[in-house]
Symmetry: C2
Subunit: 344 residues, 2 copies
DNA sequence: GTGAAAGCGCTAACAG
DNA sequence: CTGTTAGCGCTTTCAC
């Protein structure tokens, strides 16, 4: 791979001149420019970005620190980041914490967790990235993360505990509210909820949205209508079974994610009832299952790509020296209507 | 961020000495080493990897070129790569071609495709990565990709057309063979197949495996038992419907992926038959649906992480100057037995 | 308009 | 054992 020096020699000019024609920042006579360009065409010259980075103290690389690339929303978020960065000539250095295997999903045990994160952050800083995007795999508040000294850090799919830090996430509460509203507008009065793990913020926010819609509509929420699952298929089966065994079973079940909704399908099928004629079911997340169940599951789609895109955009802005007016962005979700509900 | 020069000044030695204590390649007197280490502790010194890369002409960065990060097997493959690289101090520069959005899955139209790939490859080479892993999203033979001049390239989840190139993929044919065998061992004699797109190599290889098992067992394969779908849920519904309408309907259906198997579930349910009592169904890919259907779907799990890990391992070997004895690795899959089949 | 020279932070001969 | 020196390939004053 040829260097500027060789191009310079080949065209009988100095390296400075070659640099000038390449950068275009300084005017060069048309004739020499032509000569230089020709030499470049003749050889396999490639600008050495490493040397340039060293000189400029800027790598044009963004560090993307993901909790786990296999986390459900993560690939789409990264894709959104890529889409944004692609247009602006930045590249992505990916650091995959692999939390799913390292902490077996028990990663709320902060001590270990923050250690791993801060080490990942450090590695990225050592690589001299220009900025960092932290991509979470569960929507929540994040604390205890070491703020890099000299480069910006933005959070995607989670909120930093410090409200001054910029974070981009989605609207859990309102989405659950809207979904519950949809059911209520279809004249359902007995709407039960199958929640995720009680200690996750997503579950609590979605619960708040559900409650608000029910309250507003003046509908009662008997305690036995709130069932706590664990986000997994089997808890959906179980809790839906319990719901169906009630003296006054619900006419609609809102499962807080699609696998648990799929569990409802199994329990309901087993009980001999039909979806949606006898009972309506809705989910959350719009995973692949939602369209592969029969009947198709009405659910809510998260704005994952937009989260990534927006996070990258805001990072780029900070790199340009701008300050983000509203550091916390909450993007809306979209309800995907399929065939799992029917008005009463 | 402090530099070696500052550390040297602070400890009253030369930068060379600082470098020596840091690298450990040359012996340094305990007293000076101690002094240098102390200075480092006092400041926020960080080795500048950019400068080191420039000097050494080696970045310790692997370029990972993915066709689309949202492609189903891709995150797991990348995870496998990360797992391997994590242990050896390499970092990953991720280049996401985003083919799903750019080519709308019509990416077999080679002209555009190879242009995009080669551009991505170029970007990675320009960044001076030490090696490249190409991660495909559909198992197939890949041709027309420009071989980088001075760095190794290995293929994951696909085979290079040139048998000299190293590629790591999985055993489509044998997996389909084994799955069909499983059905046959359960005394199924009428085993129908719902294939994916006829022009995909995965579909053809899986077909070959199925045929071989049927032939070996002396079972006939009437042409109406081979149905061509398009990998999507709806084609599963449709083709299973056609199968059930046959004069002699199959007792088992092998769908070439899980969404099509889910489609079978819908068609079978609609026809009033039961899985697995009346008819057995199996899928392929072990997607999330497989465990969220009722009854749980027996399917085959792909060794995605292993593919990534092995690819990275082989790349690292080539970086160490070793040559790979058998450039083409084909990893076995694993059948996941659930509740969607029953012996006759 | 062009080029000489300095230097980004580091490593590796080579001398002493 | 320690330091001097020469660069890796590039950008950028600053003269000419």
């Amino acid at each position: 791979m040829a260097t500027m020096k060789e191009i310079a020699a080949l065209s009988g000019v100095s390296v400075a001149t070659v640099s000038h024609v390449l950068s275009g920042k300084k005017s060069v006579s048309p004739s020499t420019r032509e000569r230089v360009l020709q030499s470049i065409g003749l050889t396999n010259y490639k600008l050495n970005t490493i040397a340039k980075s060293l000189r400029m103290n800027k790598t044009h690389i963004i560090g993307v620190l993901v909790e786990d690339i296999c986390g459900l929303p993560v690939p789409e978020i990264v894709d959104g980041i890529n889409q944004c960065l692609e247009e602006s000539g930045y590249q992505v250095l990916l650091s995959n914490l692999r939390l799913l295997q390292k902490l077996y999903n028990q990663y709320e045990q902060l001590s270990q967790y923050t250690g791993i994160v801060n080490r990942g952050l450090q590695l990225l800083e050592d690589a001299r990235v220009d900025g960092i995007i932290y991509v979470a795999m569960h929507d929540r508040r994040i604390d205890g993360i070491h703020q890099p000294v000299s480069i910006p850090l933005v959070y995607a799919y989670a909120e930093s505990g410090d409200p001054a830090n910029v974070s981009v996430t989605y609207d859990n509460e309102n989405s659950a509210y809207e979904m519950t509203r949809l059911l209520i507008r279809q004249n359902h009065r007995q709407v039960a909820l199958i929640a995720g793990h009680a200690n996750t913020s997503a579950a609590n926010r979605r619960l708040t949205g559900y409650r608000q819609a029910m309250d507003e509509a003046g509908l009662p929420v008997p305690p036995e209508y709130i069932r706590w699952g664990d986000w997994e298929y089997h808890s959906g089966v179980e809790q839906a079974g319990a719901l169906l065994a009630l003296a006054l079973p619900p006419t609609a079940i809102f499962a807080m994610n699609d696998p648990m909704a799929a569990g409802c399908y199994a329990a309901i099928k087993r009980s001999g009832l039909r979806i949606p004629e006898d009972i309506s079911v809705v989910g959350f997340d719009n995973r692949e299952i939602a369209s592969c169940l029969f009947p198709g599951l009405t659910t809510v789609a998260l704005p994952n790509k937009e989260i990534g895109h927006t996070a990258a955009q805001q990072l780029l802005q900070r790199l340009d020296g701008l300050t983000i007016a509203t550091p916390r962005t909450t993007l809306p979700c979209r309800i995907i209507r399929r065939d799992s509900t029917l008005p009463r």
